[in-house]
């Protein structure tokens, strides 16, 4: 029998029972839609994590004392817990590592920023002027501080939009005003351009930046630094720069061969991988659950096909009596199963895409619909049709025509 006839016969058989065909499809529709939606949510959050890190400067290299691994902008362990990095390390790296374009020491302190009767809990970052370039921050108004102001530990600072909003009245110009951090007064010399929230919901504008020397001397009273931030000349050389930094620091810290590093160097790529792996695991889990619903959809097909074969025993007998061979019957039922699953798959793809769009539109979650998720779920559901349709079809094909015709 020709393929086109086979297709016609199967299509007519399905048309005779539209509602049942649709209900059978439902399992597949939901399964495919769920897989696509889950994968698009997963892909979207992965992409958004990557965007967050590259907006923080994709060339950025962060050096931390070992075992003291703060996330940028996140909670830090006490600065005194591990003190291995010094300003001398910064100078050595600046002198000896060729593949970096900028470097800044980093110290921070959290506390209350006060202006008149208003106050705001925030953190103060002590860095060098190069820090803005490394973190891709820019100044909206006013100016950056200078190396001269670093040398003389001047009490000047740059503030983010959130800090301005919370300490000043609307329309008030913060430039030139004095705010206090703890007991120490700082003069605002610049306001940073707003960056908004990152993927993790952190407000990137809740920040005060001051010369590291001022923070170290006047607030923390320490000679150690907590971090070193550097920028590789390009993203491609960041691994090479990392190796060079490790070599320089090991020499400067006089670490013997075999001794463990007392610091930790991380590129943005490392951070992205750490962050993404958690999100990938969630995605895999959700996709697995969605996949199970696809399998259940397949079992639904098998169930209905078995019922259908029994119910249509006389039809099968008749078809055989007018010349259908066993394999014609086999192919008819298999084609029906495949048609159901592929049609269900197509509807599922459309529904999945709509659901993904709805999620990003209504919940503002980032979603990315990847072709691979569509292709994978489509192949899986076609396979489901063949796999779960085969046994019922085989049963139909093996029927004896006389028995089948007599069947009540």
């Amino acid at each position: 029998m020709s393929f086109i006839n086979l297709f016609r016969i199967a299509l007519k058989a399905l048309k005779r029972n539209k509602l049942r065909a649709f209900l059978t499809m439902l399992g597949i529709i939901i399964g495919v839609a769920a897989v696509i939606t889950m994968m698009s949510i997963g892909e979207g959050s992965k992409q958004s994590i990557q965007n967050t890190f590259s907006s923080m400067g994709s060339n950025m290299i962060t050096i931390m004392p070992y075992n003291n691994m703060p996330m940028p902008g996140g909670v830090r362990l006490g600065a005194s817990s591990v003190q291995t990095l010094t300003l001398d390390d910064v100078d050595k790296i600046r002198e000896q590592v060729k593949d970096i374009s900028a470097i800044s020491p980093g110290v921070s302190s959290s506390g209350q920023a006060i202006k008149g009767s208003k106050n705001w809990p925030t953190s103060l970052q002590g860095v060098s002027p190069e820090y803005l370039g490394i973190r891709k921050l820019s100044i909206q108004e006013g100016s950056n501080f200078t190396d001269e102001q670093i040398r003389s530990s001047q009490k000047v600072c740059l503030v983010g939009k959130t800090v301005v909003d919370n300490l000043f009245n609307e329309g008030e110009n913060p430039i030139g005003q004095i705010i206090r951090f703890g007991k120490i007064p700082f003069e605002i010399i610049g306001v940073l351009s707003p960056k908004g929230q990152n993927t993790f919901g952190q407000d990137q504008d809740d920040i005060i930046i001051a010369p590291y020397s001022s923070v170290m001397k006047r607030i923390l009273a320490t000679t150690y630094i907590q971090n070193i931030y550097a920028s590789a000349t390009t993203e491609a050389v960041s691994d090479k720069a990392t190796d060079e930094i490790i070599a320089v620091l090991r020499a400067n810290h006089r670490l013997r061969e075999g001794a463990e590093n007392d610091f930790d160097v991380r590129t943005q790529a490392d951070l992205i991988n750490t962050m993404s792996s958690t999100s990938s695991m969630m995605t895999s889990l959700l996709t697995a659950v969605a996949g199970i619903s696809l399998v259940i959809g397949g079992i639904g097909i098998m169930n209905i096909m078995y019922v259908s074969v029994t119910e249509r025993t006389r039809e099968i007998g008749l078809r055989m009596s007018i010349g259908a061979r066993g394999k014609d019957i086999l192919w008819q039922f298999l084609t029906e199963a495949i048609l159901i699953s592929i049609t269900g798959g197509l509807i599922g793809v459309v529904l999945g895409i709509s659901a993904s769009l709805a999620v990003s539109y209504l919940l503002h979650w980032p979603t990315i619909i990847s072709e691979s998720s569509i292709i994978i779920s489509f192949i899986v559901c076609a396979f489901t049709g063949v796999f779960f349709g085969y046994y019922p079809a085989l049963k139909a094909a093996a029927l004896d025509p006389i028995e089948a015709l007599r069947y009540e």
Binding site: M1, S2, N5, R8, I9, K12, R16, R314, E315, G317, L318, R319, M320, S321, I322, G323, A324, R325, G326, K327, D328, P401, I402, L405
Partner: protein, 248 residues
């Protein structure tokens, strides 16, 4: 005239548990092209068993069966299916039309299993077959929109559409009233006399047999009598002779 089918010492045994049921115990006869044969006999005499074998739906336990010169014994399942598709038209007591499917599509069905027949030709031949059974105007009706007699005529059209060498009917009038039975028989006679179709018709009503040219009587799986009908009654006349108010 040539023999369209010829059986020799045909036996069919069924195994039911440890018992062996002998449905046919050695039957021999032949049918010439253009004959209208009725097979009669009491219930359980082996009529259906015989017809299933003649229709290549079933195989004899022993004995030979030649259909159109081919020994069916040597054929495999697929070849038998092919034979049913090309040379035989079946009409069943229960019509066996596909539900929720138009008359035309039901008639087209046998041609669906012939890859050489295209969409257009299939439609034309099915329409032509419906014309032969005078149901062309009902081509788009589904079985539940047709009377029993009309459904059986659709089934006859389906049996005719592949231009078989013979038509096999198993109690094709068994579910119908007298008037409708006569209508079907009149159609059968027309096909036999005007189109020259060979017909083998199983029945246990003697008046139905009187419309045929020959009657084979089976009894307990054996051929009891084989009589040539010299006085073939016309179903059309019998139909006209029925009282008009007859509400059988």
């Amino acid at each position: 005239m040539s023999d369209i089918l010829k059986i020799h010492d045909l036996r069919r045994e069924f195994k039911v548990g440890s018992q062996i049921v002998k449905a046919l115990k050695g039957v021999s006869f032949s049918v010439e092209s253009g004959e209208f044969l009725t097979i009669m006999g009491s219930s359980g005499s082996g009529k259906s068993t015989m017809l299933n074998i003649l229709g290549c739906l079933d195989k004899a336990t022993s004995g030979d069966y030649f259909l159109d010169g081919v020994n069916v014994r040597s054929l495999d399942k697929d070849a038998l299916a092919q034979l049913r598709n090309r040379k035989i038209g079946f009409v069943f007591q229960a019509y066996n039309l596909l539900p929720r499917t138009s008359a035309l599509e039901n008639v087209e069905l046998p041609l669906m299993y012939q890859s050489g027949v295209g969409h257009r030709e299939r439609r034309e031949r099915a329409m032509h077959a419906l014309e032969l059974v005078k149901l062309a105007d009902r081509f788009d009706h589904t079985p539940n929109q047709l009377s029993g007699g009309q459904q059986q005529r659709v089934a006859i059209a389906r049996a005719l559409v592949n231009e078989p060498v013979m038509i096999l009917a198993d109690e094709a009038t068994g579910n119908l009233d007298t008037r409708t039975s006569y209508e079907i028989m009149s159609l059968m006679q027309e096909l036999n006399q005007e189109k020259g179709k060979t017909i083998v018709f199983v029945t246990h009503e003697p008046d139905i047999a009187s419309f045929s040219s020959r009657t084979v009587m089976l009894r307990d799986g054996l051929l009891q009598r084989d009589t040539r009908n010299t006085d073939i009654k016309s179903a059309k006349e019998a139909l006209a002779a029925l009282p008009v108010t007859d509400d059988y």
